[in-house]
Symmetry: C2
Subunit: 632 residues, 2 copies
C-alpha cells in the first residue's frame, strides 16, 4: 500500500498509506479528551486466536487514510491552540528572510519557497514557556498528557492478558514504572531527566519524550550537502524515515537552499526536528570559520527558532583549553561543529563564543522552548581515540552547561560518541549520568570497530543496543553509507530499522514492562506457522515477506506448516506439538492418557510428580539475571 | 578480480582471485620450516607512509594465483603426510557408499559423483590419534605449529611499530597472551580450552583453532534442503563464505544427494567442515524419527568420519526427563536435531540413544579425531524461552558429557543459544564456562529480539559481539534469511561480514593484543583521505568503494581531501590539521612559533606547561575501564 503521491514535479513526492496489515487508531487520554494520540494497530489474521497488537506510531498523518496529504500546505497545525491557550506568548513580526539564509543562492538554483507563511510566536518575559518551567511549577501540559498516553500503548490491557512475568531486566538504576502517567512525565521533566522537544512554533508536532525511563528513541539524520541531493529528496527522506520508526529527525543540510529546505521539512514534519545552527552560520560567511561572529550565529538561532526547530545541537563544550588535547589523536576532531569551533578558537585565540555567550543562548532558546542538544564536538572518530581526555574534558563542561541551562528554564539533552569499543561503552554512559545529572544522553552509535566501512549501521548498532541498555535515551542512527557518502532512501530505511532493533533490544534488557509483548506475539505467530502474522509483526513486513517468497512464493505456503529450511516432513515446530501432547499426559492425574507410542509405561506415573516439581523452576528468576550482570 | 571459474556446467563454478588490493603471502614457522602458513597482505597505497597490513586469511588456495583450481579434483591433500608421518593410523577399505546415503535418489535426480576416491585412514588402538591426546602427552603437532603461526599474524613486528598501549580490554578471565607459541597452543588444547577440528581424513585442511584465548572465530552454515538448492550452489557458497572470512563451514544439507554434496564440499574445503549427522540418519529412514536406531546412526557417523568431517553436532544432552520442560515454552523445541531426538524419546519412551551410547560415539570419533560440537537441542527459539530450565538442564548434561569425551581423548566444544535478550547473555556464558570446564563455547547469535525477521543478522550480531566479548570462542552466523528461507550467495556474504564485525568487536573488547592494529590503520587512512586504503582495509572493500562511488564516482575524488558528506570547503579532518599545527606551537619551548592567527599571545607560554601536564592524562588507563565493567 505504498502510494507515492501525485508525481507533480512542483512539489516533493512522499510515501503515504498504511503499513502492511496495519491501521491507524487513536487513543483518548482521560486527562484531555480533546487529544487524539496515534497508535498503529497491527492486524493479525483471523485464526490468530489473539487480539491485534497496538504499537508506537511515529509516522504521523502520512499513514492515516482519513488525511489528504499536500506537502505544499503542510500538516495541520493542531498544536498552535495548545500553546496559545496556556498563554505567555505573543505573535510578532519575525525576522525577514535574507538572501544569505539560503547561501545567496541565485535564481537559477533556488529551490521553490514554501508557500504558506506563519507568523512566529515567542514567549513573553515573566511567563512560563518551556515544558521544564511548567513541570517545575507542577503544571501538566497537553504535551505531557499526550506523551504519557503515547508511551503506554494500551500497555495495561496487554499486560493483563500476558501470563508470564515479563520485566526481569537489569536497568542499571533507571526507574521505568509499570504505567506512564502524566504526573510521572511531569516529574521526570521537572528533574531534567526527560525532555519533550517542542518549539512553540512547530505546531505540526505530535509530541514525544526522550528520557531513560521511557521507550528508547531513535533519530535519523537527513540533509543535503554542497555536493549532492535536493529539497525534494530531503522531504521525502523525512517522511520515509518516520514511516519506519524515526522518533526525531535532524536536518543537517549544508550548502545552498538551507533555509528553504528546512521550512519544507518543518511544515511537513510530525516529529521533532533538530539542527546544528553553526552549519548554516558558516554558510553565511562563505564557509570560513574564522569569519564567524556571535552576532551572525545569534541571528541564525533566531531565524531557526522562528521556523520551529525543536532542538539545537550546540557545541559549547569545545573550549579553547581542550583543543590541543586532540592533537595526538589518530583521527583528531571529527565532529563538523567541533572542528568549526576549534578553528575559530585557534584563529582568534579566544574562548569559544558559544561558551562565553551561553547565558544569552539560553535566554533566546527559552523563549521558543527550543531544547538543547549539547554537542560532543570532541567525540572520538576512531577506536584509538575513545574515552580520551579530550572527550571527557568536554563532557565535564557539558555537565556544567546543563546546570546553567536548567537554571534558565531550558530543556537539555547531551550528545555522545562516536567510536567506542564495547568495553569502554559503560564508562561513557556512567560518566554522562554523573556529570550531567541524568539529563538524557543522545549518542551516535557508538561504532564498536572501525574496520567495516559499508556496514557501519551494524558496527554501531551493536554499541547502540548496549548503551541504550546502560541508560542512553536516544540513539542517533548510522546508515550503511557512514564515512562513504550521503544516505539515499534505502540507506535511511536500513539505518532506521537497525536502530529500531537496537532500541527495542535495549528496552527488553532494561526490563521495560511491555517491550516483550511484541516479541512474544511474533514468536507465537512463528511457532504457529502464521506466516502473514510473522511478517506483519516484524519491523519491516515487506522485506520479511519478500525474503520468504524468494524460496516459497506460493500463497498456499503461507499457511503451510513448514518452511523452506526444513521442508515438509522434517519440521521441528511440528514435532514440538507432539511434545505438548506428551506433556499433557504427564499432567493427567489418572496417569493414563495417550503418549506418542500409544501407551504410557508404568514408571511414568511416578515420574510425573517429579516432572511437575522440576517444571516449577522453569524460569530462572530475575535476581539471578541481575546478579550475573552485576558480576560483569 | 573476482573471476568465476570456467562455466563448464559439469562442475561447480567458484570464485577465485585475490581480494581487492591484497596478495597471498606465506609465513614459515621456525618450529616447522616445511609449513607454509597463509596470510593475506593488504597492500596500501604508495603514499601511505606505513607498511602493508597482514591479516588472517581463511580463503584457502582460491585466492592464490599460483594455484590452479579444479573443483573436480579437489584441493591439494598436503595434510595427509603430516598424519601419516606421526603414525598410529592405518589405511583401510572404507564403508561402501549405499543408495540410502543419498536418500535413495533416482538416476534422474542424482548429482554427479565426485571423481577421485581416497582410501580412508583410521586410528589404531593403543596409539595417540587426536590433537588432545598428543597435547596431553606433551607432543606439539604440525597442526599446533600451524595455528600458532596463523594466530600471530606477524603480530610482533606490528606491535613493535605501534606506539600506543593497545590492549586495555576486559577479558573476564580469559588469558590471551602477547604472542601465541606452539607450546601455548598445546597447553590450551591439553586442558580442553581449545580445539583444532581436524579429521585425519580431511587432508585438504588448513588447520585453525577455536578457544577463548585465540581470535574469535565465525562459522557459516550452508546446505541444501528438500525444497531447494543444488550441489553446485553449495560448493560455491562454501568458497564464497571462506572468501569473506568464515573460519569453519557447516554443511546442514537435508534431502537427497546428501553424501555427494558433502564429498564435493570436503574435497574442496580448506576450512573445517561440521555436520549434524542425525539429519542424514533421518533421511535414511524416510524422515520418520521414530524409526531411527543406534545402528543406523552409528553407520552414518562412520560414513562421515571416513569422508573427513571435522566436527559433529551431537544432541546427546536432549534427555527424556528434560523434554516435558519445553511444553510451556512459547516456541517449544526449535533445534531440528533436538526435536528429532525428542520425538524419538517420546515415541519409544526411552532415554536418548545418543546419551546411552555416548561412550561408543566417543570411541568412534576418537579414531578419526572428529571433534564434538555438543548440540543444544533445547536452545530457546524466542526471547520468552531464554535461560529457562530446559536450556540449562541440557547445558548441565553437556558439561557431564564433556568430561566423558575428554576422558576418551576427544576434542569438545559446546553449542549455545539461540534467542537471548542482552541482560541474559552473560549468565549463559558464565554457566557454560562453569559447567563445561571452559570447553570452547560455540553460539548461534544469540538474537537479542524476535521482532525483526529479515534483519536477524543484526538482531543476532549484537548478541554475538557481546557473548564473544564475554568468552565465546566461535560465533555461528545468522543471515538475513533466518526464519524465512535458505540463504543465497548474497545472504551468505552479509552474514559472514556481520559476524566478522561481531568477532572483531569481541577481540577488541577482550583486549586482544593485535586486534586494534587494523582499526588504527583504517582510521589513519580515513583521516588522511586515503580513500583506496580505507576501502582496502575494510572487511568488504567492494561494497565500501561502490557506496563511495555512488555520490563521488570520479577517480580524482579518491585522492580529494573531502568527502560527499561535508563538501570541499567544509571538512572537519582538514580543520584538524590546523589543530595539530597549533598544538605544535604549544610544544615550542621558545613560546614563539606560529599559530593560526599569526602570533601567539603572551599568556600562551604559561599555558603551554599546563597543557603538557594535562596531555599526560590523555588516555584513561585500563584500570578505570575494567572498574567500569566490574560495576556493571
Amino acid at each position: 500500500m505504498n502510494i507515492r503521491s501525485n508525481p507533480d514535479t512542483t512539489r516533493p513526492a512522499v510515501t503515504t498509506g498504511s503499513l502492511p496489515s496495519s491501521r491507524k487508531i487513536f487513543a483518548t487520554p482521560e486527562a484531555a479528551p480533546d487529544l487524539r494520540v496515534p497508535l498503529r494497530e497491527i492486524i493479525l489474521s483471523e485464526g490468530a486466536g489473539e487480539p491485534n497488537l497496538p504499537v508506537y506510531d511515529t509516522s504521523g498523518p502520512y499513514t492515516d487514510p482519513a488525511v489528504t496529504i499536500d506537502v505544499n500546505t503542510g500538516l495541520p497545525r493542531n498544536r498552535l491552540a495548545w500553546v496559545k491557550e496556556r498563554g505567555g506568548v505573543e505573535e510578532y513580526q519575525g525576522r525577514d528572510i535574507k538572501p544569505e539564509d539560503n547561501g545567496n543562492v541565485g535564481a537559477s538554483h533556488a529551490a521553490k519557497a514554501f508557500t504558506a507563511h506563519h507568523t512566529p510566536l515567542r514567549g513573553l518575559d515573566g511567563h512560563k514557556i518551556t515544558q521544564l518551567e511548567f513541570a517545575r511549577a507542577g503544571i501538566i501540559t497537553k504535551e505531557m498528557i499526550y506523551v504519557a498516553e503515547r508511551e503506554n500503548l494500551g500497555r495495561k490491557q496487554q499486560l493483563e492478558r500476558a501470563e508470564a512475568a515479563l520485566a526481569d531486566g537489569e536497568s542499571f538504576g533507571a526507574a521505568v514504572p509499570a504505567f506512564i502517567t502524566p504526573e510521572f512525565v511531569r516529574s521526570e521533566i521537572a528533574r531534567g531527566r526527560a525532555i519533550i522537544p517542542s518549539n512553540i512554533n512547530h505546531a505540526e508536532l505530535e509530541p514525544m519524550i526522550i528520557g531513560r525511563n521511557f521507550l528508547t528513541k531513535i533519530n535519523a539524520n537527513i540533509g543535503n550537502s554542497a555536493v549532492t541531493s535536493s529539497v525534494e529528496e530531503e522531504v521525502d527522506k523525512m517522511v520515509w524515515a518516520i514511516r519506519w520508526g524515526a522518533d526525531t529527525v535532524m536536518d543537517l543540510s549544508t550548502g545552498r537552499n538551507i533555509h528553504t529546505t528546512r521550512e519544507w521539512i518543518l511544515r511537513n514534519s510530525p516529529v521533532p526536528i533538530g539542527t546544528v545552527p553553526i552549519y548554516q552560520a558558516l554558510e553565511k560567511c562563505e564557509g570560513d570559520p574564522v569569519k564567524l561572529t556571535w552576532e551572525l550565529y545569534k541571528d541564525t538561532l533566531i531565524e531557526q527558532c522562528e521556523q520551529g526547530v525543536d532542538y539545537f545541537t550546540i557545541h559549547a563544550g569545545v573550549r579553547l583549553p581542550y583543543i590541543h588535547l586532540t592533537a595526538n589523536r589518530v583521527t583528531g576532531i571529527v565532529s563538523r561543529g567541533g572542528s568549526i569551533m576549534a578553528k575559530w578558537c585557534l584563529a582568534h585565540h579566544k574562548e569559544s563564543f558559544l561558551y562565553t555567550h551561553f547565558d544569552e543562548i539560553c535566554d533566546l532558546m527559552r523563549k521558543y522552548d527550543v531544547s538543547f542538544s549539547l554537542g560532543d564536538g570532541l567525540r572520538p572518530g576512531s577506536i584509538a581515540d575513545a574515552n580520551d581526555r579530550a572527550q571527557f574534558a568536554e563532557l565535564e563542561t557539558l555537565g556544567e552547561l546543563t546546570k546553567i541551562a536548567w537554571d534558565k528554564g531550558c530543556q537539555v539533552m547531551i550528545e555522545g560518541p562516536g567510536h567506542v569499543p564495547m568495553h569502554k561503552i559503560k564508562i561513557n554512559m556512567d560518566k554522562q549520568l554523573k556529570e550531567c545529572g541524568e539529563a538524557p544522553f543522545y549518542t551516535l552509535g557508538p561504532l564498536t570497530t572501525d574496520i567495516a566501512p559499508g556496514y557501519d549501521h551494524i558496527t554501531s548498532g551493536i554499541g547502540a543496543a548496549m548503551i541504550g541498555w546502560f541508560g542512553c535515551a536516544m540513539l542517533c542512527y548510522v546508515t550503511p553509507k557512514e564515512h562513504l557518502g550521503l544516505p539515499d532512501r534505502n540507506d535511511v530505511k536500513v539505518g532506521v530499522i537497525t536502530y529500531k532493533i537496537a532500541a527495542h533490544a535495549s528496552d527488553l534488557a532494561k526490563g521495560h514492562p511491555a517491550a516483550q509483548l511484541r516479541d512474544d506475539a511474533l514468536s507465537r505467530a512463528r511457532f504457529d506457522f502464521r506466516w502473514q502474522d510473522q511478517f506483519s509483526l516484524g519491523l519491516d513486513p515487506e522485506t520479511a515477506k519478500n525474503f520468504h517468497d524468494e524460496t516459497l512464493p506460493k500463497e498456499a505456503h503461507k499457511v503451510a506448516h513448514f518452511c523452506s529450511m526444513c521442508g515438509p516432513k522434517f519440521c521441528s515446530m511440528k514435532i514440538t506439538q507432539d511434545v505438548r501432547d506428551y506433556a499433557a499426559t504427564l499432567n493427567d492425574p489418572t496417569g493414563i492418557g495417550t503418549s506418542m507410542s500409544g501407551t504410557i509405561e508404568d514408571g511414568m506415573a511416578q515420574m510425573s510428580a517429579k516432572f511437575k516439581e522440576m517444571g516449577e523452576s522453569l524460569y530462572l528468576d530475575a535476581d539471578k539475571v541481575k546478579e550475573s550482570n552485576r558480576v560483569l
